[in-house]
Symmetry: C2
Subunit: 181 residues, 2 copies
Amino acid sequence: MRILGIDPGLRRTGFGVIDARGAQLQYVTSGTIVVPADLPLAQRLKVILDNIREVVLANAPNVSALEKVFVNANPASTLLLGQARGAALCALADSDLLVHEYTALQIKKSVVGNGHAAKGQVQRMVQTLLSLNGLPAADSADALACAICHAHISPMAERLARSGDLRAGRTARMHNGRLTG
Amino acid sequence: MRILGIDPGLRRTGFGVIDARGAQLQYVTSGTIVVPADLPLAQRLKVILDNIREVVLANAPNVSALEKVFVNANPASTLLLGQARGAALCALADSDLLVHEYTALQIKKSVVGNGHAAKGQVQRMVQTLLSLNGLPAADSADALACAICHAHISPMAERLARSGDLRAGRTARMHNGRLTG
């Protein structure tokens, strides 16, 4: 099972791809989509959309994982994050990838063993679990942590992801009564 | 100039297309994308993405207009609206359409002549301005009002929309250093 983890943000969107074979995890790739802040909103979202689609094309994951978002204290930030998240989810659904969402608590518990672990601890555990030479950058680490969480929590996910009927895109198309793919 | 107005929402997304030749407005089409509430979030966003892309393909607008959103009292609703809005903006940018945003005040002032007009007044003025036989549905009326606002406020917009360099997609691609279209 190849898992794509995404950590969406309007300025920086992290991504990380791992392979999971039972308990064995293997690092594939990770990085950060840096979105130029001077672009109009629609174009910034398109940068996220295009780059995630490219990551999917280049790495062919079977399934994807995101952190469930809790609303920010600042409503304007919540709206911006929502739009970035919308772009990321569109890219995944548009690539026919099933999307799993996990809370920050689930992710930290699954990666560090402590639901209230600090960000630095998550980075170090991601480095350890994936045998990386260096500490991963914050955005990449968060995205890889999502992917690791999915590998740990959902050993059933591979079967689901391989079952065509449950693929995000196909179901959406069915509900639309259209047949484009 | 053919203008696509969008009124995004996670349950219902309104769209409306008009032609503007100087002060003359002509109704082209309008409707509501009804998103099945029982789908997972990513698939709901894909319904919005796919259907707006289809409206663009079918009607070939030159430019698009949306209402600028003000954050909701309920942060969870703000996040959901943000995600729906992200999907709509992705569809527009993905279709290489320039996106203009107007505040509710600008739209009501432009359509009704009063920035604090009631929803019903907007519907009736949309009907009058576009010589529609019946009152348009609420979502369609809001989307058509966005398009009318753009026709009124921005007579310069056509030239901008026709200038390739300013198109959303192209700029985004340039900033990405990629050449896919």
